[in-house]
Amino acid sequence: MDYITGRPNHIEDYLCQLYSNQWFGWTDSKNKVYANLRLTEKIGVDGNIVNNPRSLPTEQECTDGLKAMQDDWDSKNG
């Protein structure tokens, strides 16, 4: 997300809205591209550390999801 305008500009914005909690991460957090996207092993729920039940979306789903968020933002702020 652009921190000045708030406009979504990265697949991480889409991933955050896909599911809540810390279900994803990056094999290289300084290079957040789809190829480096990974599932986290554990998430914290109600004080318990449990296995992550999620699965990764496809790259196309990420691209399309980000585009939809950008279109929505543009319609409200354009």
Partner: protein, 175 residues
């Protein structure tokens, strides 16, 4: 073992082991941050922690971390500070940043923020929870960080180059 060379005014010279005198300054300082954004609650924040690898390396042994459970390197009295930056593109009445001790069974400190959005876009809030914690047993007195908030769509900010959501630990003295 490091040694200090003595050269006193009286002309006495020799070496003195650092174990034989009291050193000043901080003996343990560490800082960890969350590297990725996430939405909703995390109880505790389990993943995507990294030690600050940009502005300094730890002082001393450093804390160990596994699935968001932080264990002190030694017993002692510590100053611990959990800070988070959050955003949301909707109003949110409360967001709580909670610092927990005793492996999550006690709340050491808690702080609240809220968001009233501006211009239909993401708006930010910031909370810091601070505690002084007497760690008498490093295993049972482990700490965790937790985000509790009104809406699942609100985002907690993480970054690998900046401290948005992070925890800082400084050892003040012996237990």
């Amino acid at each position: 073992m490091a040694q200090t060379f003595l050269n006193l005014a009286q002309g006495v010279t020799g070496t003195l082991s650092t174990s034989n005198y009291v050193q000043g300054g901080i003996t343990e300082a560490d800082q960890w941050r969350v590297t990725s954004n996430f939405s909703g609650q995390a109880n505790p924040i389990t993943s995507n922690w990294e030690r600050n690898d940009q502005t300094f390396d730890k002082i001393g042994t450093g804390w160990s971390q596994s699935s968001g459970v932080f264990t002190a390197p030694s017993t002692g009295i510590y100053y611990i500070e959990f800070t988070t930056t959050v955003n949301h593109n909707a109003d949110e009445r409360y967001i709580e940043a909670i610092l927990q001790g005793d492996n999550g069974s006690v709340t050491l400190a808690s702080s609240y923020g809220s968001i009233a959005i501006d211009e239909s876009s993401a708006t930010y809030a910031h909370m810091t929870s601070k505690a002084i914690y007497d760690i008498t047993n490093t295993s049972s007195n482990s700490i965790r960080c937790r985000i509790s908030r009104e809406h699942s769509g609100g985002v907690t900010d993480g970054h690998s180059d900046k401290n948005y959501t992070y925890v800082t630990m400084l050892k003040l003295g012996d237990t």
